[in-house]
Subunit: 372 residues, 2 copies
């Protein structure tokens, strides 16, 4: 056996084969041994014994985190975001290309982000690039510089420096991304459907929910799926809220269309019926929907239709959430989540999809591996 500096010993260790009593030996930054609980520990090792109700598990990977540094560091910077991630069990995160200024839409902006991150981060950090109108020629450079893929919006992103792709811009982007062997990740709500929905203004959650109907997600996803089908590219649907779309995603995949999908802890945890009026901390886009929808998302996770659970961690300053006025129309759409997301949507006794063999409850435990 290699030298062991530290032993972590627990009755409940999440392993690929399920939960078991084990001790884990660590040397430097590497796991060097996983042994049955009662095996004698190496002499001289520091031993940390977990409580009987504590679970020892691998660090999680959160592929949907908005770190807004530079430009909006007061919303969330690398120092605070990566510490929140570590507190939530996340040891690797991938940063979204928007809400920082400049957004990560060319290599120069990526280098700015990397410079900010260097020395400030408490966990491993990777980067998504952005696909916006006019930056098609930047995608190759970003890909070669190491971004994990490219994010686009199909409607207003919430910040003016990261505009949405227009309908006729999506296919050229998909074609370029297919040529690169990269991945397009998509905020899929239909712009016209949202524009024509009732106003979100005011403090009633029901009005906010009606302002982001499921139809807007359903239409955007149906539209995206066909373009992925035609181009042979790989695409990923971000933060799925409308369970209506699960059957069409499933059948597209059976046809060989390379589309994956994620959902988030807030869609799995909360439900519209319980959101108090004026509680703008629950505002997100797409919105938290009804209990019946939440149960179908859990089903999609249990069935393997939903590939991963990620946080969509997207803080702002408290005043932007309009907690004083409770106005859902004016409030910022993001919330901090990576410190609590897994604790709320991870495995729970009796909950389908969260057995001991899927001990992370859909949260990735290793490097992202995208279908396709």
């Amino acid at each position: 056996m290699q030298p062991v500096e530290t032993v972590l010993r627990a009755r409940r260790v999440a392993t690929p084969d399920g939960t078991a009593a084990r001790w884990v030996g660590v040397h430097g930054e590497r796991i060097v041994a996983v042994e049955p609980y009662d095996t004698p520990v190496p002499a001289g090792a520091r031993v940390v014994d977990l409580g009987v109700d504590e679970v020892l598990m691998p660090g999680l990977v959160d592929t949907h985190v908005h770190i807004n540094e530079p430009g909006r560091t007061e919303w969330e910077g690398f120092t605070s975001a990566t510490r929140a991630a570590a507190a939530g069990g996340v040891t690797t995160l991938i940063d979204m290309p928007l809400n920082s200024v400049p957004p990560t839409v060319d290599v120069e902006a990526l280098e700015v982000k990397r410079a900010c991150a260097r020395g400030a981060v408490a966990v491993d950090v990777g980067f998504w690039g952005g696909a916006v109108p006019g930056n098609l020629k930047e995608l190759r450079g970003l890909h070669e510089a190491g971004v994990f893929g490219f994010k686009c919006f199909l409607l207003d992103s919430g910040v003016e420096e990261f505009p949405p792709l227009q309908p006729d811009e999506l296919e050229p982007v998909l074609a370029e991304i297919a040529a690169l062997g990269s991945l397009l990740i998509v905020h899929a709500e239909d712009a016209e459907a949202i524009d024509r929905a009732p106003s979100a203004a005011g403090y009633r959650y029901a009005d906010f929910l009606a302002s982001r109907p499921r139809g807007a997600e359903n239409l955007a996803i149906a539209w995206l799926v066909d373009r992925v089908r035609w181009t042979g590219a790989r695409a990923h649907v971000l933060h799925l809220s409308s369970s209506d779309a699960l059957p069409m995603l499933a059948s597209a995949r059976r046809d060989g269309v390379a589309v994956t999908v994620e959902t988030c802890p807030h869609y799995l945890t909360f439900m519209a019926e319980s959101v108090p009026d004026g509680a703008t901390q629950y505002k997100c886009c797409p919105p938290i929907r009804e209990e019946a929808n939440r149960e179908l998302l859990w089903r999609g996770l249990a069935d393997g239709l939903i590939d991963i659970v990620v946080s969509d961690h997207s803080p702002s300053t408290p005043e932007l959430k309009q907690l004083d006025t409770g106005d859902f129309g004016a409030a910022w759409g993001g919330s901090p989540r990576c410190s609590w997301g897994w604790r709320r949507s991870g495995p729970r006794p009796g909950r389908a999809g969260t057995t001991s063999t899927t001990s992370s409850g859909g949260w990735p435990r290793g490097p992202p591996r995208w279908r396709g």
Copy 2:
């Protein structure tokens, strides 16, 4: 009791309360009595006794029948269509506005159809009007002349004299139909999705199926639902084949969107896995899909999500079905169905959705009542 000319006596009579042993008294064209089987029959009445395995039930209403007279009477005329309907248990049918020449897109064309029908029909016949590019101003006249609603296509209809509505034409049509209190019935497959799918040419059924992917239906239905939502009109999705769309239709209805949906006996009876290559008699649009899809359509019927079953009876001359070449690309897309549709997709023991209390198996037994 009123005078009774004829008594129809059966051990299995379909009533609103289920199947029971009854006799039904008829005078002229009216049912004047429904009595327990053992009640003495009126003196002098002619008695017809059904066999123990025969069911006596009300006539069916088939709201989706193409009678191609005048213009293509050799495909199907009023005489042959209405006799086929009667043979299939259908006592009322509603005729589609296309495949006859002229199509039923103005009052003059409606009167031409009515003149052809007069004296030729064996069952009650009603008419749908057509919504095509340029005939918006004809809709009111057709409505006032008694059409049950208006059919449109979102892609090539198969006959050049009945072109599809372009995307920007749908909303004005829906607005006019809402103003009339009428109904739009829609062939919902997305034109671009079909154009860009692989070719249907050749004798392989798998190639034909791939030429009409579920995504084309899913996208067109998602797109239609939003426009119905925005206009407050009533619309009906014709001949649903893709079960993927059921959840989004269900959630739109929960939102109060006035959308209904039908499916057809061929989607409930056949499955792609069993269609022989070259068997172009199975060609229809949208296509017959996989067994798993068929089972979900049955589930949709049992759950009340699918409102009605109708035949989509649409014969042609045999040579147009390309039975000699077996070329799915060249074959006409319709088939005769109203003579056998109910017998194949009506109630079956053990089949969800077809209990004795839903004795018509989804086929309408009375005047169409559209939701909304």
